[in-house]
Subunit: 427 residues, 3 copies
Amino acid sequence: MAPVTERGEEMYALVERLYPLCRSITGDGVRATLDIVGEYIPLHVHEVPTGTQVLDWTVPQEWNIRDAYIADTAGNRVVDFAASSLHVLGYSVPVAKTMPLSELRAHLHTLPDHPSWVPYRTSYYKPDWGFCLTQETLDAMPDGEYEVRIDSTLADGHLTYAEHVVPGQVADEVIVSCHVCHPSLANDNMAGVAVATFLARALAEETPYYTYRFIFAPGTIGAITWLARNAERVERVKHGLVLACAGDPGALTYKQSRRGDAEIDRVLRHVLAASERPHRVVEFTPYGYDERQYCSPGFNLGVGSLTRTPYAGYPEYHTSADNLDFVSPEAMADTFAVCREAFAVLDRNRRYLNLSPYGEPQLGRRGLYDALGGRSDTKQAQMAMLWVLNLSDGEHSLLDVAERSGLPFDTVADAAGVLHEAGLIKT
Amino acid sequence: MAPVTERGEEMYALVERLYPLCRSITGDGVRATLDIVGEYIPLHVHEVPTGTQVLDWTVPQEWNIRDAYIADTAGNRVVDFAASSLHVLGYSVPVAKTMPLSELRAHLHTLPDHPSWVPYRTSYYKPDWGFCLTQETLDAMPDGEYEVRIDSTLADGHLTYAEHVVPGQVADEVIVSCHVCHPSLANDNMAGVAVATFLARALAEETPYYTYRFIFAPGTIGAITWLARNAERVERVKHGLVLACAGDPGALTYKQSRRGDAEIDRVLRHVLAASERPHRVVEFTPYGYDERQYCSPGFNLGVGSLTRTPYAGYPEYHTSADNLDFVSPEAMADTFAVCREAFAVLDRNRRYLNLSPYGEPQLGRRGLYDALGGRSDTKQAQMAMLWVLNLSDGEHSLLDVAERSGLPFDTVADAAGVLHEAGLIKT
Amino acid sequence: MAPVTERGEEMYALVERLYPLCRSITGDGVRATLDIVGEYIPLHVHEVPTGTQVLDWTVPQEWNIRDAYIADTAGNRVVDFAASSLHVLGYSVPVAKTMPLSELRAHLHTLPDHPSWVPYRTSYYKPDWGFCLTQETLDAMPDGEYEVRIDSTLADGHLTYAEHVVPGQVADEVIVSCHVCHPSLANDNMAGVAVATFLARALAEETPYYTYRFIFAPGTIGAITWLARNAERVERVKHGLVLACAGDPGALTYKQSRRGDAEIDRVLRHVLAASERPHRVVEFTPYGYDERQYCSPGFNLGVGSLTRTPYAGYPEYHTSADNLDFVSPEAMADTFAVCREAFAVLDRNRRYLNLSPYGEPQLGRRGLYDALGGRSDTKQAQMAMLWVLNLSDGEHSLLDVAERSGLPFDTVADAAGVLHEAGLIKT
């Protein structure tokens, strides 16, 4: 477990660095985030100009913010953006006014049920401004005048996203996508960004079968922009995972692709079940993270979503309580491990054709079968060979063989390797 | 609930009027029945001559009866047709004899297990005569001579059935079929006739999507006659319901069509489950009511059967205990309500095509999406729009969307309406 | 039950005669076995020369053995082949040596967990020699010199197998295959041989629909040889059963064919379920008996395997405890009865076409339907006719009808016979 723990600690350290930045769907916060990730893995950063048409959408103006606060008449900052990037409504237009609390209230967002938490709110597509604060802070604010200041700009600029590619033996791709647009929320989604980053690093140490493409992009508009700009590449995307909420203490949840029987769905179901971890597998819904876009009916990609506690499934979701205490090195290491296992299965999952399909080939002659007959304890490796031979009719994958035989996938894949070497099966 | 109760009372009043008539598969009892129904909805009455070949069958001679009795030597009528139309074996040939009880017994039908009930028996296709009476009456009859008289005629004439059509927006049809051949039995099937009549009246107040055809015909031979005379129309029959036993106190039972996955089957299953009524859904069997004919393998129509307690499923079935006390306004109103809900779903159940299938269309721009982001309580109407967009690939109906999403069908259909109006989907 | 018991006793008597012989995959033990079976049913015996290429295999040299023993220095035979054919490793090369126990041990096979049982071991394809003995005998052998003698020959000769054919009304075949290569093991497989022999005798008393071919051949190499020499016949093999372990006290186990939905699979599932015997139905695995060869992907025949306790599923498996006490006349009679029932269903299972598929044909006119209407207790035979008519669309077999209706197969098949005679259905 030592290397896992070490990697867990490294991922957690990355989350710690990324957490304080004020991200949004555009702007310098995203750029700063990608700069840090770029210290771990090389990134290809794309800048897409405001106004660019992307599918049914248009790249919006770029939003940047320097300062924001609500101050009382004594000049004390009651709410201060410097304390947390959550305090300002995302994409707030600039404002500099003095107004009574009664008028200000319409711009204040709190969580009455969790009076000490700050909510996360945005208004990307309707010009608005506002502050998010604890209910306790609001309750303590006396009536009277307040100075309200948001020093932000909304101007033509760019939408920023990045890619990292691990070349494989084939051009067919697996995409791993995570959103990088949320401000100071740890589980949603700096934990996902950290797990993706370290997956990319681990894959680079080998030459995987598939080409793995990591996409770091703002939610919704970022995935839509990537899809709009990669129309021809989409045909090469055979499998994919949207990674989010990768560090909370809950059990893993795999949300299946829209297809429900895509290979990635079967692989994740198999790996999670075989691992005997507590976990949940849920049906696709057209809500959540960017699987919404990858699984829109026109694309209908084999892309599922792996989270721990899923989207909106925990009280800390989209609040200041989704902080560095809410995520752990152990949870991230566990998410990482399952992704690695899933990619390993995906990479070895082939369909073979038995070249000697009439009767069993004589394995003994080839040194692949016990010489002594009559014993009742046949070895697992031998059983795996018989299963691979029997089901290698071009219709069954090695995952089919593993599931039908009840044997571990690795045993089955190893048996296929031996048979392939002996010239008994071909791809 | 007031209007439902009022309609229930109206339906019950119709059953009260129809109940005493002596119906059979032909004859003036059927005509009188249709005359009364015709006071509620306009009927097109068909008269098909004796001897007409209909599929594998031939329209039989017409049977009419004026009087029938068994009298003792003192002239007292021990069994009297005037008291109940059940007392005579249906299609009895005329008889006027005096005979000892010992000889008469072979023509007497009783229910020893229910000694105070009169059974309902017929002999349509084998010339015979007989009386049905209570076991108590039979037990009280002393040995000796009895005068036996059945003043009936079996002669060339016609088979009578009727249709009522509610024109829809399309020529594709939904048939609602109920048998009108049983004499004084309330649940089987004057309750079904009453519910069908009021369904026709309710549908006429709107222009439904489908054209609804109500068929009031004698069992078996009537449905066969209708099918024989409507060979070309059958192709337009997309869905159908056989209505029977619509007024007893039992829970609703939907018997699926032979296909088992016809749209009507899915609709009824959905509506009954969504209504949270106690109910049963059962497989098709080639026995029961006229679904036997509509679902014969050559036609194989999408026609199911809705009853409360099903065919032969209650002790009162085909006895004098199936009387006006056995049916209730409440039960008929409940059957009526489920039919209405089912027709409403059927009428709105369309397949749409998402015109913007690559990624999600930007609903916010069109005023269809919350401006404020980040909240975890997304509205049901919004979820319904996302589901309709995601599944509108030409393969999924709105009922599919409702079932896969778990959202109410109406919410889904309303969302489809909004999206259709916004030009985002088409049929 | 008397005839069954008598047949059970006869089968047991056959097992008693066959049990002592020393069989292997070639040699005079197989010939002697087939000679005895040939006294019950005529056999066509095939002799295939050593060196013949059969699929991926080659017919090996023929093995024969006259004597074998381990004797102590006093000349006492500590282990003696004359006492049990299990004592010598199958296919042992000849040996005549004196050696210390320490050297001999590498050639001795025991069952430490069952110290009083002798294991069954072979070395067909790697030249070797050895003895099988009880652990108790081994423990009692003092260190010191032993005379070791195996008077066997391995020389060019033949592989022997036999066939018995019961001609049917059609050339399509059902094969019943059982292995005849195991030495003194009663359940595995002299019980299977006996049940097969008596099935052949019983079938010969009638003319079955299918042609039944019984194959008595050594395991693996025998089935492979049969398949290699019957390439064109294989297309006519529609169904099959591998019979083994037919006499132990356990419940019946049916192992499905590789297809899983072959007709033989459905028939055995149906017959076992309908019989209300305790039983198990298990999935195909590419291990066990000669279903491994018949169900190799190139052939993929509809061949299942019927056993009582399955392959390697009991401690006595492949040991001296699989003796005449382990099998019983009752168990063999029970296996026999299920095979008979299965063949009866298979032979009657046809697809019919309703010649009057539009509406129900008028059964009453043809004397096939109760004249008296209205009763709620419809006869099973009448229901079976309605079911056969309704499902005879060319897609449903009589077994489908039986399963969907819940009626006994025989009732359904009898109804089909009546309808066929009436000209209402055709094959």
